[in-house]
Amino acid sequence: MTNVVEIQGVSKQFKGGTVALQDIDLQIEQGEFVSLIGPSGCGKSTLLRIIGDLIEPSRGTVAVNGKSARQARRDHDYGIVFQDAVLYNWRTVAKNVALPLELAGWPRERRQQRVEEMLDLVELRGFGDHHPWQLSGGMQQRVSIARALSFEPALLLMDEPFGALDEMTRERLNAELLQIWEASGATIVFVTHSIAEAVFLSTRVVVMSPRPGRVSKVIPIELAQPRTAETREDPRFFELATEVREALHFGGQVEVIA
């Protein structure tokens, strides 16, 4: 197995002295679903942005698909989904999904065909001519996922994509995301602060601690695939959620409570 993401000794210090990340080492293999979880201020979003070369690390190196993060960005090796859908209001849904294809110079017919496929994938067939503001928050976020996957990137970076949605919508989109993940074969790095979401979705959960941001524990989630509604009721699901919770609260050190 090759590493899609290879992070070595990455630190990030912002102007003004705040140390957002310190000595992060992390390897992510092809086809993995890795969640970064931690309290706000632990640098999880910063780490995601460093992987995507949206910001630069102060020290250390990041390789994506065996290239520098910058080269990977230039080669369109990853798609990104933010907490807000960040759709362009003046474009229809179909044209939003087609945006990265347009920039990559795809011919019109191939673009239209791919947009249809992507809208099918996120179950928004027939909404191509709508404008973003005509859709619910959950639907907008699905458009944003379709846009991120439209050019079949090897890597999908997701920054709390369902954080602004209600619990019911979030669980439904979690299930949909797993189907998309399996169908596309993409590697996913997923930032969240929901323990249940991290455990349900991931093959590995990376627990981070704040000030300075560090990896405090990496927990493999060996729940059976595919994950279904029953997964959430599996006793093992609760054990793993507890493990993540304890890692979050005690910085990875198991404390015995008398």
Binding site: G52, L54, Y88, W90, L99, L103
Partner: protein, 283 residues
Amino acid sequence: MVRAAGVGQGARRAGLLLLVLAVLWGAWEGFRALGVHYHWQHPFPVDSTSMPHIHDMLRALFEHPNAASPLLIVTLLKAAAFTAKEAALGFAMGTVGGFVIGAALAHSRMLQRGFLPYVVASQTVPILAIAPMVVIWFGSQHVTAWVSVAVIASYLTFFPVAIATLRGLHAADHRALELMRSYAAGTWTVLWKLRFPTALPYLFSALKISATASIVGAIIGESPSSIQGGLGGAILNFAQYYTFQPQNLWATNLIAALLGIAFFLVVVLAEKIVVRAAPENVA
């Protein structure tokens, strides 16, 4: 249903328009009647010269100012068409020039620091001081006089567009820009696919100001260029005969105002067509 609602709304708006016109008419005639009755001397003596009846102004449109000339409205509509031509060219040049200046300033902080003060200063110089120089410069190159007037009009119109462009091109959401960066999009791509569409609502606000300013610029620009065929010429002419026929100048002002409103409405219509994707942004 939708259609009926649309018609109902249209009727309401037309009704409101008429109501406001009636109120304004009433205010003018009411003030006039009181002033004449009580012989007001302040803020000015009220009589038929200072405040002609509105129906006299309207009637003047359909009379001959003197025996040799055609109906006043015919003269004024010809003048309005002439001024509209100057203003339209001035508006177009001002819009393009303003956009280019705004985009250049938005692109470089150094340019902005260096040149923005002069762009602002340009608007503190009275247009009456600029106009004769423009006429002299262009006249020496045998450029048709009305084009000089258009240049003068563009001097008033470029400024709002430049400032709105500067502001609008920086109005793109931080995340929307990050998305473009993730696609490794170049400066021009970001400009046309993201910054320009984001700037459009700002631009249209500026264009509405510029549309009316272009008429003012054209009217003022006509006097130093000794152009007789436009509304500026008509205003100067009727101002000389104001004591005898005040209603003619008021009628001219009325036509000038209607021309300004027409320009404004064209911009509103263009905005409705162009910015239809974001209706909440259309004023």
